[in-house]
């Protein structure tokens, strides 16, 4: 049940990424290239996704618990710190260099393009390396 529902959620997300044009780095980079070959399409992607989620969450979060789990697991962090801003700034630079964000690159694997496989491999290495450093730092803090 959990596996099937996760697959269906992923499928809807993947179809959305695919038909919206988010899946295409040329289109994503053009959204940011206001001074050049600008393509404003992504405003509509973000707008459609945000409004739908905003309205949907109002209804869903009113319930006592989710359908197949015991409780809601919402992010609890509240600090706006250097880690959040610095990490997001670095993410934006990488996004501007390659044209892929994680949520677009995973569905793009379905296109079978070797460049996407390369991007996702590099992304996973980056994720893994950053987690490793974070774990080491946490360990050092715990020792002190």
């Amino acid at each position: 049940m959990r596996l099937l529902s996760a697959f269906i959620v992923g499928l809807i997300f993947g179809v959305g990424i695919a038909i919206s044009g988010m899946i295409n780095p040329a289109k994503v980079l053009n959204f940011f290239d206001i001074a050049g070959t600008w393509d404003p399409s992504l405003i509509f992607v973000m707008g459609g996704a945000l409004v739908t989620t905003f309205i949907g969450y109002r209804f869903v979060l009113r319930r006592d618990k989710p359908a197949i789990e015991e409780r809601f697991q919402l992010p609890t962090a509240r600090d706006i710190d250097a880690r959040l801003v610095g990490g997001s700034a670095v993410f934006g630079i990488g996004w501007g260099i390659a044209g892929f964000c994680p949520g677009a690159a995973v569905p793009a694997l379905g296109s079978g393009k070797v460049e996407v496989v390369g991007f996702v491999a590099a992304l996973l290495v980056g994720l893994w390396a950053a987690r490793l450093v974070q774990a080491k730092q946490a360990g050092r803090k715990a020792m002190a």
Binding site: L3, G21, L42, L61, A67, L74, G87, G99, C101
Partner: protein
């Protein structure tokens, strides 16, 4: 490295955006979680609680099947044009991996779900990565390249 024109697609982009939002709402309804590609991937890469990897793998499989379903229905694979070089793909991917880990999210987690929850953290994160992405594209295309 300058880009080439892409077609303005407001209706398909809006429809796709609504589907992305619908998947986020459905995940919250079913599992009570925010839909963040960063969180789903890092849970797969790093060791998490046992039994936690299965649904993440299933979701990734569903995501990858998305464009294939579009191909099956419309007879056409959605365009994926990568207008950057291999070194940029590798460096960009690695940097994105570092950034989303420290920033605790990306376009889906912060940009869609966090902002829909009116989280100040997500609003700051989204504004930050949109600005640095815009500056990066400007510098690469109009300052360095051409």
């Amino acid at each position: 490295m300058t880009g080439f024109e892409t077609e303005f697609t407001p209706l398909m982009s809006l429809a796709g955006g609504v589907l992305i939002g619908a998947s986020a709402v459905l995940l919250m309804f079913l599992q009570g979680r925010v839909m963040g590609a960063t969180g789903i991937l890092s849970g797969l890469v790093t060791g998490t609680a046992p039994g936690d990897k299965g649904w993440r793998a299933a979701m990734v499989a569903g995501m990858i099947a998305g464009p294939l379903l579009v191909l099956a229905v419309t007879g056409q694979m959605p365009a994926v044009d990568v207008p950057v070089s291999w070194p940029m793909i590798a460096v960009g991917g690695f940097i994105v991996g570092i950034g989303v880990t420290y920033g605790s999210g990306c376009t889906s987690g912060h940009g869609v779900c966090g902002n829909a929850r009116l989280s100040p953290r997500s609003m700051v994160a989204t504004l930050t990565f949109m600005i640095t992405c815009g500056i990066t594209v400007y510098v690469i295309r109009h300052v360095m390249g051409g």
